[in-house]
């Protein structure tokens, strides 16, 4: 009867199961699923026409290439992604608590970090898809200009920001997880270990000029 049973955990089977579960649930809300995708097309068009109202060469947009459309689309596309990373873990735990599925998940042999990651995976993937689609639509149909983008900087800051926001999410839920036997200190330590160097980097490197300007 136990044939085919192997230790679960961080396996691809488990992660795919989480994604499939959430995709199946999302597809049961057909109209909502459809509108979340078509909304991207509409918002790109909206920003395109709003950008027509902003005069070219506005001084405030100088550091961003002077193009309001590119500035707005990139901001909106990545804001959603970062928001997902920030809220992802926190909302996963809270959502499972509210819906009542948390205990059923925690009695399985899958480690808690894998449950947290797996449960937020669909949301993260969908948000990445939305971001790519957002940028893709803006590039293909509305002439999005990404010539001034520092790709390496985006990757570095993005990676650190994701770590930071994931840690914030985990840290904010440690009290709930502690009830189920997770040592709060782990979550807190992870948060501190990630946030301290990130804070140092953001303060002394990324926002160096901004702080200098503010200091004057």
């Amino acid at each position: 009867m136990t044939g085919g049973r192997r230790a679960a955990g961080w396996s691809a089977t488990v992660m795919i199961a989480f994604v499939r579960r959430d995709l199946r649930e999302a597809l049961t809300y057909k109209l909502s699923f459809l509108s979340s995708v078509t909304g991207i097309l509409l918002s790109s068009a909206t920003f395109y026409f709003v950008a027509k109202l902003v005069p070219a060469g506005t001084p405030a947009l100088g550091p961003f290439g002077g193009d309001y459309f590119s500035f707005a689309v990139v901001g909106v596309a990545f804001a959603g992604l970062l928001g997902m990373f920030q809220e992802g873990l926190a909302s996963v735990v809270r959502g499972a608590q509210v819906s009542g599925t948390l205990e059923a998940l925690l009695v399985t042999p899958v480690p808690v970090p894998a449950i947290l990651f797996g449960s937020s995976l669909y949301g993260l993937l969908f948000q990445v898809f939305r971001t790519v689609l957002h940028l893709g639509v803006a590039l293909a149909f509305f002439g999005l200009a990404l010539g001034r983008v520092n790709a390496a900087g985006v990757v570095a800051v993005g990676f650190l920001t994701v770590l930071c926001f994931l840690s914030i999410g985990l840290t904010t839920r440690f009290k709930d997880l502690a009830t189920f036997g997770i040592k709060p200190i782990w979550a807190f330590t992870i948060g501190v270990v990630v946030n301290v160097p990130l804070g140092y980097f953001l303060s002394t490197v990324a926002f160096q000029n901004y702080w200098r300007f503010l200091g004057r």
């Binding site: 049973r5 199961a17 599925t101 059923a104 009695v107």
Partner: protein, 266 residues
């Protein structure tokens, strides 16, 4: 070498901190008031036995089951399932027990019964054709083959409970923990669940079942052993045949005496 008992609890203690508002936290930051859920429980359940936990609301039955299911850590004492300490070896302990989470909200309501089992099956390490065969078998055992493709939110309360058992059996663990499985069920559905647990799972498949219930008749009919818990302690225990020898009225009398006595001592 003697085989470890299916379930063992030794001097098990669990206290829950009392919820306090911000005002309380500010005014009395070092106040550590707690409610004692378990106050030194000792329990041993032999393999293949049906062990009923009886007790009033708040007696500690659910807390004990959650500790055995590794959902809650004890504050003191020791608990083990199939010889695995639930605090020190939560991994093997989890694999040794199937916890039939009674809360119907523990399923994904917009997925079908089969899709729910597919998801949880993957978390138990099942995959491919063997997973599908296992799910088919469990749906058959639970009498849900015809309803497998229906959304969970269209299931009756009895069907939801049966799907909870099917989920708990996915891992084919030898020990099953069930918490008030016949709560909110009509008499026919309750009888079917009792028969399923006692005849199919315990007698037929040799499962050990720790079964929390308020229903004295259920315990008298189904249990091999009975323990009465009140105010976090075992107040009475023994073979069901002995405790219910004088019929349900005798069991009820013994139960009430044990509970009343506990109120006098606490």
């Amino acid at each position: 070498m003697s085989e470890a008992p299916a379930i063992l609890a030794e001097n098990l203690v669990k206290r829950y901190p009392v919820f306090r508002g911000f005002r309380e936290l500010v005014l009395r930051p070092f106040d550590r008031r707690a409610v004692t859920a378990l106050d030194g429980i000792d329990l041993e359940v032999g393999r293949g036995r049906v062990f009923c936990l009886l007790g009033p609301n708040g007696a500690g039955k659910t807390t004990l089951i959650k500790i055995l299911a590794t959902l809650v850590l004890p504050d003191a004492g020791r608990a083990a399932v199939a010889g695995h300490d639930v605090a020190r070896e939560p991994g093997p302990a989890k694999e040794a027990v199937g916890y039939a989470v009674g809360d119907e909200r523990s399923f994904y309501w917009r997925l079908t019964g089969r899709q729910n089992l597919e998801f949880f099956g993957a978390l138990y390490g099942l995959k491919g054709p063997s997973r599908d065969r296992r799910i088919d078998e469990l749906l058959h055992v639970a009498g849900l083959e015809q309803a497998a493709g229906l959304r969970f939110n269209s299931y009756s309360t009895g069907m939801r409970q049966m799907l909870a058992f099917a989920r708990a059996l996915l891992a084919d663990a030898d020990i099953l923990l069930v918490d008030e499985p016949t709560r909110s069920l009509d008499p026919q559905a309750a009888d079917r669940i009792r028969s399923f647990l006692r005849d199919d799972l315990a007698r037929g498949r040799g499962k050990t079942i720790l079964w929390a219930t308020h229903d004295l008749g259920e315990a008298a009919d189904c249990a091999d052993d009975i323990a009465v818990i009140s105010r976090g302690r075992v107040r009475l225990r023994g073979p069901a045949a002995a405790l219910a020898a004088g019929g349900r009225a005798a069991l009820r009398q013994a139960y009430e005496q044990a509970v009343i006595a506990s109120e006098g001592t606490s």
